[in-house]
Amino acid sequence: MKVIVNIQLKNGVLDPQGKAVHHALSSLKFNEVNEVRIGKQIILDINESDKAKAEQRVTTMCDELLANTVIEDYTIEFPAC
């Protein structure tokens, strides 16, 4: 089963990379951009057919390693294959 984990800095935590990219977009005259936030995506292929169990395991993975929950939020998605 494929599982997609999206990790981004929590709201209110300054994202310097996003700010730098926003600045670059502005200098390219993409003035419609209000804000840029950069995160990361981790794609897992796991041996589990039960979606609920998979979600529980991946949540533990996020809390223990994949995300730093002091500054980061994460979402778990199951893409339609």
Binding site: L9, L14, P16, A20, L65, V70
Partner: protein, 223 residues
Amino acid sequence: MLVAVAVFPGTNCEIDTKYAFEKLGAEVVLVFHKEEKLPEGTDLVVLPGGFSYGDYLRSAAIAKFSPIMKAVIDFANNGGKVLGICNGFQMLVEAKLLPGAMKRNESVHFISKFHPLKVVANDNFFLQKCTIGEVLNIPVAHGEGSYYIDEAGLKELYANHQVLLTYCDEKGNMQNPNGSIDAIAGICNTKKNVFGLMPHPERAIEEILGSKDGVKMLQGFIA
């Protein structure tokens, strides 16, 4: 005085750290990350600088699960003294031995230069030889050194004298190179046996290299 310096794949400051503590009269042993025990009689564990596990995922995110880190965490929880420098500080934060988190520098650049630091608290082993308000000239070298902690956590740090060092200019006025909350450069835990800082005192122990202000800091552990 026995100092154990932990070495992870990607660590690159272990020899400088060993050299610095030997110069101060300590016996120093390098301990590989696959070891499960610290040497018998260890007085201080140092987690040195570098790029453990290539900084993959986040700085120090993977190092905290190394076999030796279990021993280091037990050692710290039993009151043993632990010092984390740069990547070592990031490990202590990731392992939750110190509060807060480390973010990418606000400028997004890697910073490598001498930077003045102000001593904020000296009622601890590490900075006992320094005076409050004293300005020390120590090199910094990091890309992810922007210290973050929420407001409640910050209040607690100040209340317990856990903010040890802040970045400043040569006169001691606040100057923030990386966007750390309150320009914080180093902290300790509530029990004051676990210390972390982004700057490198082990690189400032001889005048010929630009400063020996690091001697005064590291000596706190020797006395």
